[in-house]
């Protein structure tokens, strides 16, 4: 990747990290309900989303802040949503776990683990039937891959030849259960073959590798029209849902993965390759911090929804 792109990637990843840290601290102050953060998974979000073009769509799950921000979401509107304010992307009705934004092409987020897998086939079908270009990316976890819907979705996409990039963010955890307790294989990419579709796996801590793997998968989808399963090997560096002391996590495993924090790796790469120096990156960190502070202010200032919103938007 060129210096430009890679520095942009750093900026986005830093934004995601700062956003999630802000959410953690606001949750700690009880200024918003608990939430799932994507700390540790920034390279996955930025690597995949930056490989999409603007007419591609995204479906995602409860751990979606990275995908939204990578796509260009406004952190102030995201924070407002998490705080339950009317200025949020969904007017405060969704909360943190199901933010969708039609204008950004981030459609139909589900916190039912497996939900996005059951919706994505229809989204892709609509695109192809309406003659619209573009791939649909569907982010889900290793836990979601234990749901039968994962297989139903892959199978239908395969049989109907739907242009879907399935992105399994295998972060080794399914809430309070380690992935190893839930499957014999070391991941889910092996299922692609059973459904007759392409599959690949990538180091999810390396944003360049993720971006390349995603680009490769997307260009195959564009050529063939058929779906592809990309497994991104990453790690949930914080707990499942704030607050969470991670007492159940093996400290050695956590330390091993912390050493591969995607932001640390990217920082090192940028500096070692001479694409940026410490000061450049520190400046980005500071800018991002300022942006987040401002976002908190905007979100704070947004009013709560009015009572009549309780029953609006139930029916079209």
């Amino acid at each position: 990747m060129r210096a430009n792109t890679l520095i942009q990637a750093y900026e986005r990843m830093a934004l995601i990290r700062a956003y999630e840290n802000t959410v953690v601290s606001l949750a700690g102050q009880h200024r918003l309900p608990g939430t799932c953060t994507s700390i540790g998974q920034e390279a996955s979000a930025v690597g995949v989303v930056s490989a999409l073009s603007s007419d591609d769509l995204i479906l995602t799950n409860h751990r979606s802040a990275g995908h939204l921000l990578a796509r260009g979401a406004d952190p102030a509107r995201m924070l407002a949503e998490v705080m339950g304010k009317s200025g949020g992307y969904c007017g405060g009705k969704s909360g943190s776990l199901h933010i969708s934004s039609k204008e950004l092409g981030v459609v139909l987020t589900s916190t039912i683990v497996g939900g996005e897998l059951s919706l994505v086939t229809g989204v892709a079908l609509a695109r192809t039937m309406l003659g619209q270009a573009g791939v649909v990316a569907c982010f889900f976890g290793d836990g979601a891959a234990c749901q039968g819907r994962f297989h139903e979705s892959l199978n239908l996409a395969a049989v109907w030849k739907l242009p879907i990039l399935y992105v399994c963010e295998n972060n080794q955890w399914q809430a309070f259960v380690h992935r190893q307790e839930t499957m014999l294989a070391d991941g889910v990419v092996g299922h692609a073959a059973g459904h007759g579709i392409g599959g690949s796996r990538v180091d999810g801590m390396d944003v360049e590798a993720v971006r390349e793997a995603a680009e490769h998968a997307i260009s195959r989808i564009r050529e063939t029209g058929a779906p592809h399963l990309l497994e991104v090997m990453t790690y949930r560096l914080r707990g499942h849902f704030e607050p969470d002391d991670q007492a159940y996590v093996d400290p050695a495993e956590l330390a091993r993965w912390r050493a591969r924090d995607p932001l640390v790796l990217l920082r090192r790469r940028l500096i070692e390759s001479g694409m940026a120096d410490e000061a450049d990156l520190d400046r980005i960190d500071v800018e991002v911090g300022v942006r987040l502070d401002r976002a908190v202010g905007v979100a704070d200032a947004s009013p709560y929804p009015e009572r009549r919103e309780l029953t609006s938007d139930v029916y079209a």
């Binding site: 949020g88 992307y89 969904c90 007017g91 405060g92 009705k93 969704s94 199901h98 969708s100 934004s101 039609k102 459609v107 139909l108 589900s110 039912i112 497996g114 939900g115 897998l117 059951s118 919706l119 994505v120 086939t121 229809g122 989204v123 892709a124 079908l125 609509a126 695109r127 039937m129 309406l130 039968g148 819907r149 139903e152 979705s153 199978n155 239908l156 049989v159 109907w160 609006s312 938007d313 139930v314 029916y315 079209a316």
Partner: protein, 324 residues
Amino acid sequence: MEMTVNDAISAALAEEMRREPTVLIFGEGVATKRPDLLGEFGATRVRNTPLAEGIIAGTAVGAAAMGLRPVVDLLFVPFLCYAMDEIVNSAGKLRYMSGGQFSFPMVVLAMTGTGWGVGAQHNHNLEAWFVHAPGLKVVMPSTAADFKGLLKSAIRDDNPVLFFTDLALGYTAGSVPDGDEAIPLGSAAIRREGGDVTLVSYAKTVHTCVAAAEALAERGVEAEVIDLRTLKPLDEGAILRSVAKTGRLVVVHEASGMCGVGAEIAALVAGKAFHHLRAPIVRLTGPDAPAPSSFALEQAFVPQADDIVTAVEGILEDRAAPVG
């Protein structure tokens, strides 16, 4: 034109698919079983699917959100148990949860009720579940004309609609107006007027109520028969107006009683037409048991005209009973 309920459904599907190119239909065996639609509209709009109700329904939800108007056939109502997340947590909630960004114009077809003798995993009347859940509409017609006209409206509606066909009605015939007659969702039909008692029902048991009303008429009792047609939105006005006139209410359906549609109507009337009521509200429903396969038992499962007559006679006698 005289046609069966099944033909009325087919006619509505064909007309709406002709009218609106974004309408498509899919499900297990849909393309095989509807060769006419397949021939006219092609394999893109008329599709067989793998055997997996969850993803069928989910695909409909996703497609609806993005501009198509899918109709999915999930065959029999108990099979919807595999698609509850998609129908309830997604189709019913995601408009609200997205702050109104998306709408879900889709129809779920399924057969319901007794008549086939294949047991409780094919036969279970679950319409009340979908009435209870937010964001959905529920339609259960009783005549060929209503099947056609209401299915057309269901397909045109911008919300998810559950459209259930009482199995026993499929081959019954009725006169259906020619042309493009959509019947609006949410309005009940008065099948028979009368001033002594209100019989509220839907689907197959509407006909049972009419038969009971005829038997009652011979005894000098005039029953008004209301066919709800749409269970959600519910035509409260039609029910309340009738009870205001008759003062007596019997609700009849095949689904079990507890937390059923009959409970809702009884509660509605006990809340909003209480001062008009002159007798206890009676619910006649299927038993709180799985549907038996054995033909003899399956028939005994369904409320009968005699039961209705007896119930009405009971509450008419009640006229004399002390109030308060």
